[in-house]
């Protein structure tokens, strides 16, 4: 982050991984290699994308193929077989109600991925709209941005918990609550891009020559917004997954009959001293998934924003 990106006088947003993103350049986890063409070449040149994306694809595959991966009904109760240790029969053991933890963890991947992707998508779309409106409509700008500042000054987990306390737990409501907490970040980002582009001579020229606003947005604004927005969306995806697990963990998230990693951990937390595996397996899967998304985000940022990479 260069000093110039910090605008004194604006209220700073609560931080996500995405902020660092803008800030910290390529973590050279793997040494650079010789350039090659094609997908292989691309992946070798962007090892972070390769690792993050590969891991991501693996987890998506597990989530989709869960029924085929030797799982049983993840919600089937069997109180007579409760809290069994991991074994050949129950790979990850059973929980307090006798449900198979392996099956629950695999199916749980679906919830995390759906929440992550949905929040990333909706907050990008809504944030983009709000950002464009406040970037172009001057009278709306002040009001919209005050509201956004207000929302942003409530720590996002607290905001999501409070929103969840309003409604009944459902995956849709979890997505909504986390999206509301994330939207201000995106809209600020988009507004920033719009305002800086409006000062550019070629945009000025377009305005002067009578180009309509939608056309300006389509031709000049959107293309320039897409790269930072994609990167930001990736980080939002990661933080949404963590937020979902925290909400479920404290009992204000995904309904407990749906196996999600946060729920499995919440149900196992009372027993973590004696049956640590109930918490352990979903924790590992959650951490790996978030790691994959974060790596993907880092890789995308470096690839989409070569200026940033060149600086180093």
């Amino acid at each position: 982050m260069s000093t110039s990106t910090i605008q004194p006088g604006t209220l700073h947003r609560p931080l996500t991984a995405g902020d660092v993103a803008a800030a910290a350049p390529l973590p050279d986890i793997l040494p650079p290699v010789r350039a090659r063409r094609g997908l292989i070449g691309f992946l070798r040149r962007n090892p972070t994308i390769a690792i993050g994306g590969g891991l991501m694809l693996l987890i998506i595959a597990v989530a989709i193929l869960a029924p085929l991966l030797w799982t049983v009904d993840p919600t089937a109760l069997a109180p007579a077989r409760r809290t069994r240790e991991p074994s050949a029969m129950y790979w990850f053991g059973t929980d307090m109600l006798g449900r198979d933890v392996y099956s629950r963890v695999l199916y749980g991947a679906r919830v995390s991925l759906i929440v992550g992707f949905a929040v990333a998508f909706f907050s990008s779309v809504i944030g983009l709209t709000i950002g464009l409106v406040s970037g172009f409509v001057r009278w709306a700008d002040a009001i919209v941005m005050r509201v956004m500042d207000g929302i942003m000054s409530i720590p996002s987990i607290l905001l999501a918990i409070a929103l969840m306390a309003l409604t009944r737990g459902s995956v849709g409501n979890v997505i909504l609550a986390i999206t509301i907490a994330e939207v201000p970040r995106v809209s600020r980002l988009v507004r920033g891009v719009v305002l800086s582009l409006r000062e550019q001579p070629y945009v000025d020229a377009a305005v002067a020559s009578g180009t309509t606003t939608p056309r300006i947005i389509l031709r000049h604004i959107l293309p320039n917004t897409l790269a930072p927005l994609t990167v930001q969306a990736t980080y939002i995806c990661a933080s949404a997954m963590i937020a979902e697990s925290i909400l479920s963990f404290i009992g204000a998230g995904t309904p407990p009959i749906i196996p999600s990693w946060g729920n499995i951990m919440a149900e196992g937390r009372a027993l973590w001293q004696v049956k640590p595996y109930i918490v352990f397996f979903p924790a590992v899967f959650l951490s790996l998934t978030v790691l994959a998304v974060n790596l993907l985000g880092d890789g995308l940022r470096d690839w989409l924003d070569p200026r940033m990479a060149k600086k180093v």
Binding site: A76, L97, R168, V274
Partner: protein, 529 residues
């Protein structure tokens, strides 16, 4: 010196050098640190009736009578009582020398004001109020309660441990509207509440009240001499069972009221920890149905539920594999008590017959409409009941709409009488302390007086008549017969579905002695070495 003792030594030095004088060894031995079942969030035992409030209040406020371990009312603050031969006039005389924590003597007018406030909120108190002529102080130590009809259960009403108990407060405090919280916590009980140290959600402190005059009899539950053997009792609230277990193992607390049974094997391994069944009267799980709306406005649908639910599955999920801790319960009442009855409970006995349940549900006219089930996730008892019975109901073809929510929301939504689709409900879960279900006296949930009944609003004149029969009973035989009739009528009507009887452990460090089994933790007689 290994690393661990090095760390200890280091912090010891730091503590000695920098801190205010640490508690001496003796002081530590006179402070009992206790992990209660829940947070003490408010402290008015008449206004709020949660069990945890009642438990704390029993330390601070004394009662006129108290039930002993045999559930027999015994005199506590009262020295003697007299009842007229027609049973209409009760005259009570207080023991001499009773003092409130502010140093004022306990007078008859304090008792009168306290009873007035309590009678508005308590089910038995309300019955007495309905037949009351007057309640007056005769002199400083005597008061008189005159009635229009005899009330044979008078002493039980004043002695019972079911919330709200008739705690005696100074008149100025007892004048508070029963629907407003009191703001001063002055009692005449064996402990004084250290209000300045109260951090709701974390800590509550009770100090020994030096001027308390225990009765000469040995203590037995709420009766007898409440002799306090420690200087302070500190309640440390820990919402997380795992944390509480670790704290007990590390000696950071002395007594944990309700360890979850899955952690018992772990605690068993520690030589420093002892445990026992906390309350042999245990608890009764309750699956409550809304009698106002389909499908449960039809008794056949309610019976189908009785046939479908597996109490054993619920209890294993709730309490664990230790079969000594739970029991199937074909009754609404507390097993093992003198007038317990299983009359009419056949549907809950024997193996489950899901096919028959499915057929009966069809007969009742159920057509697959959603059945709204409210399940509080923050209470392990309601959550286990909900998770297990939801599965069972799905198996008999019910379209269960599982609403995961918290206890606070259940508390508000269950009071809504509109159809389930319009903010109402079909099913919610609760539980009743076994001590409340020994007989119908304080058993609100067994009532079937329609709109006046507990949530679910069952309406069965038959059940009410049997209940009245118990109140009218004057001999143990008559009581037993009335109970059998009541249980059968309630089962036939399916007032609610009992999901089983279960008990919890209580666990303490070996250097603590004097803990007795009971429906609430009793702190008198408990000492620490």
């Amino acid at each position: 010196m290994d690393r661990r003792s090095f760390l200890m030594a280091g912090t010891g030095l730091a503590a000695a050098g920098l801190s205010a004088p640490a508690l001496s060894q003796g002081a530590a031995a006179r402070t009992l640190r206790f992990v209660p079942q829940a947070n003490l969030a408010n402290f008015d035992p008449v206004w709020g009736t949660q069990y945890v409030v009642r438990n704390a209040a029993a330390m601070v406020w004394d009662t006129l009578y108290g039930v002993d371990a045999q559930l027999v009312p015994q005199r506590q603050m009262v020295e003697s009582e007299e009842v007229s031969s027609d049973g209409l006039t009760w005259t009570f005389r207080l023991r001499p020398g009773l003092k409130f924590h502010d140093g004022e003597p306990v007078l008859a007018k304090d008792a009168v004001a306290s009873l007035n406030r309590w009678a508005v909120r308590d089910p038995m108190g309300q019955m007495i109020r309905a037949i009351q002529n007057e309640l007056v102080a005769v002199d400083d130590r005597t008061f008189r309660w005159s009635l229009k009809q005899p009330y044979p259960k008078m002493l039980l009403a004043l002695a019972k441990n079911n919330a709200p108990c008739s705690f005696v407060m100074p008149e100025r405090i007892a004048r508070t509207d029963p629907f407003q919280q009191i703001t001063e916590y002055v009692g005449s009980g064996p402990f004084r509440f250290a209000r300045g140290e109260w951090v709701p959600g974390a800590k509550a402190v009770f100090e020994k009240f030096a001027d308390y005059q225990p009765r000469s009899e040995p203590a037995s539950w709420l009766a007898g001499g409440k002799r306090v053997m420690v200087d302070r009792v500190e309640w440390m609230v820990m919402p997380d069972a795992a944390t509480a277990a670790a704290a007990l193992q590390n000696g950071e607390v002395d007594w944990w009221e309700n360890p979850i049974s899955d952690l018992i094997p772990q605690l068993r391994r520690s030589r420093n920890i002892q445990f026992d069944v906390a309350d042999p009267l245990g608890n009764i799980g309750a699956f409550r149905m809304n009698h106002l709306h389909p499908p449960f406005n039809d008794v056949r649908a309610r019976k189908a539920v009785l046939m479908a639910i597996s109490q054993e599955d619920v209890l294993r999920a709730l309490v664990g594999d230790d079969e000594s801790m739970w029991k199937r319960l074909p009754s609404y009442f507390t097993p093992g008590t003198p007038i317990y009855s299983e009359e009419g409970g056949d549907l809950l006995k024997g193996p489950r017959n899901l096919d028959a349940a499915r057929r009966l549900l069809m007969e009742s006219g159920y057509k697959g409409e959603p059945v709204v089930m409210l399940v509080a996730q923050d209470q392990p008892i309601t959550k286990a009941q909900g998770d297990v019975t939801a599965e069972a109901l799905k198996k008999i073809g019910m379209n269960v709409d599982y609403v995961a929510t918290d206890w606070g929301t259940v508390g508000s939504r269950r009071a809504v009488k509109t159809p389930p689709g319009q903010g109402g409900w079909n099913i919610f879960f609760s539980w009743h302390a076994g001590a409340d279900c020994i007989n119908p006296a304080a058993y609100t949930a067994i009532r079937a007086n329609g709109d006046g009944a507990w949530f679910g609003w069952p309406n069965s004149p038959e059940v009410e008549a049997k209940r009245d029969a118990w109140f009218a009973a004057t001999t143990p035989e008559a009581e037993k017969a009335a109970m059998a009739g009541l249980n059968k009528a309630a089962m036939d009507h399916v007032i609610y579905a009992p999901t089983g009887f279960f008990t919890f452990y209580t666990a303490w460090r070996r250097n603590v002695s004097g803990i007795v089994k009971g429906p609430l933790p009793f702190f008198w007689g408990v000492s620490k070495s």
